[in-house]
């Protein structure tokens, strides 16, 4: 188990190194390079030359890369040019990351809380109207562009439910402790602040949850269908075990393995979906920074955020793989 974890972590370092090299090359390959990105296309030749020297761009590319890696290891990823001009890219990430974690966490909770029970019920009623309706709904969920759904929620549903549609929290006097606004409110017992932050999360989280929900639902349904067919379920039934016991011990436990894998893979959809959803709801998270970064070509911020998104994605999937051992005791003995 430990050896497996270490091997995966070493692989992650490899992936990040290759990715940083690719992204770095990409940054340098831009038409005009970072100088144009920083100064705009109408800069004078003198100012371009000065900045080229200042940034060390007159040196060979591998020297530049090692210098960049050296700075990166000490936490210096460069200064933002578009998202929050003048701020360091690392600060922007650290400031915004808790917001995206809060949002994604709520979204995945919604997806699981709705997807797994619904998937189980649909499998039990296979072929019935409930099954057909929910399968149809899940297919529709994947077909709707996330940002369009976000706009529909924002413009149609928000007024009906009286929910806020912009930002992370109203301008209320709240104490900041961790950067997680809901958690801060709970810790400091400023309940109104926590509630307000939570209200701001609901609509974006619903928009973000649609795709993970649809996938979790379908995988649960398929896995439960597979398990329901197994002999041990029939044996359990013939032994006279009650339905809830069979459901918990025999069906759900055995059906969960593929579902957990899927949940890990859905972090990817969440990260990309956050870019779209956070933009619609002006939610100051990593996704919004990426959206603005793409729009204004803020390369230092993009470089760091894309690498961090990759790290998060790979680490979450590693954790998911490790959690197999808890669900399936057979893996532990291997």
């Amino acid at each position: 188990m430990l050896r497996y974890t270490i091997r995966r972590l070493i692989q992650l370092v490899g992936v990040v190194l290759v990715l940083s090299l690719l992204l770095f090359a990409w940054l340098r390959a831009l038409p005009g390079g970072p100088v144009s990105a920083l100064l705009g296309e109408r800069a004078t030749p003198e100012s371009r030359e000065a900045l080229t020297k200042q940034l060390g761009l007159d040196q060979p590319i591998f020297v530049q890369y090692f210098k960049f890696m050296g700075r990166a290891l000490s936490g210096d990823f460069g200064v933002s040019t578009g998202v929050q001009p003048g701020d360091s890219a690392l600060d922007i990430f650290l400031q915004r990351f808790p917001a995206t974690i809060e949002l994604s966490f709520l979204a995945i909770v919604i997806a699981i809380a709705v997807g797994i029970p619904l998937g189980y019920m649909a499998a039990k009623r296979r072929g019935g109207w409930f099954d057909n309706l929910s399968v149809g709904g899940s297919l529709l969920g994947v077909a709707v562009p996330v940002f369009f759904l976000a706009y529909v929620l924002k413009d149609v549903l928000s007024s009906a439910l009286g929910l806020p549609t912009e930002g992370r929290q109203d301008a209320i006097d709240a104490t900041r402790v961790t950067g997680f606004f809901v958690l801060d409110g709970v810790i400091t017992q400023e309940w109104d602040a926590a509630l307000n932050a939570l209200e701001h999360l609901i609509l974006p989280a619903i928009a973000l949850a649609t795709i993970p929900f649809a996938v979790v639902f379908r995988i649960t349904r398929a896995a439960v269908l597979d398990v329901l067919d197994e002999d041990f379920v029939r044996t359990a039934e013939s032994k006279g075990l009650t339905a809830p016991v069979i459901r918990r011990r025999h069906v759900l436990r055995n059906a969960m393995l593929p579902v957990v894998t899927t949940i890990g893979l859905q972090t990817g959809a969440l990260l990309a979906g956050a870019v779209l959803t956070e933009k619609v709801f002006s939610f100051a998270g990593v996704g919004q920074a990426l959206a603005i970064g793409f729009e204004r070509r803020d390369y230092p911020v993009l470089l760091l955020l894309i690498i961090m998104a990759t790290v998060v994605y790979v680490v979450v999937n590693l954790l998911v793989d490790l959690s197999y051992a808890i669900i399936d005791p057979r893996i532990r003995t291997r």
């Binding site: 992936v15 706009y151 870019v275 998104a309 990759t310």
Partner: protein, 310 residues
Amino acid sequence: MVTPTRKKDRIDKLAGTSSDAGVSLAASAWRTLRRSPVFLTGAVIIGLFVLVSLLSPWLAPHDPSDPMLIDQVIKARNQIPPVQDGHPLGGDLQGRDFLSRLLIGSQQTLIVGVLATLIGLAGGLTLGTLAGAFGGWVDSVVMRLVDVMLSLPSLLLAFSISAMFARPNQYTVIIAVAVVQIPVFARLLRGSMLAQRHSDHVLAATALGVKPGAIVFRHMLPNSLGPVIVQSTLVLATAIIDAAALSFLGLGNPDDRIPEWGQMLGDVQNVFDTHPQLAFWPAGCIIVVALGFTLMGETLREALDPKSRR
């Protein structure tokens, strides 16, 4: 709980009297699909979509790039041309006939979807076949490359690739959406190839002295195509949706003389609350077409899965 029909199937299987005995997978899949209302729904949607996009130059009542109603666009009062005679859906923000744009838009949307899928498929087929057929160091190199690509969430990778181009256009959108699909196809092909390398039919072909190239192309590749076809159908749907997401982030094709649904949807993000119809129409078209491809893909997957054969 065992439903009556499934019990019957199980008995059939035990007795070896399944009605499908001796029928090839493709033939049995077609028999299932022909009678599946879900598959037929998807097929009708996609059939109509392809038909409309092919005929759109004749179906569209006006030139989609002609701002013929521009005098009815009043920026200060936030007005756009309303529904009127000869313009059943009114006009857009530039005073162009909206129905014509939707109809012509189907063509570009189809092109984006098909080209992106074909490029992704070609790249994935090449890499996957190389890795699966040769194994060894080729496999290692290809799969490490694929792993790096897969370690980035796919849509985020598409965004990053688009951002590489200083001036996005129609083709950069297609490339960005296509490249993302390459690792998926490559993995799919490689897995299937590897599984077959030691299978009986390949062993038999080798023993008969069939050349390695012929084994790969005549024996291994055709047997891997089922999952590839399913994946392609599903990718057609995601490609169209992803292209819309690129436009939404300003990474799409800025030239809107020839419209595309994703672009039409992404471009009206700032007027969504005042002119929702400008978003609802292209969004509705995208949703229906994506649903059509998904319905076909999912039913194909079920029909081609030997486990679900009865």
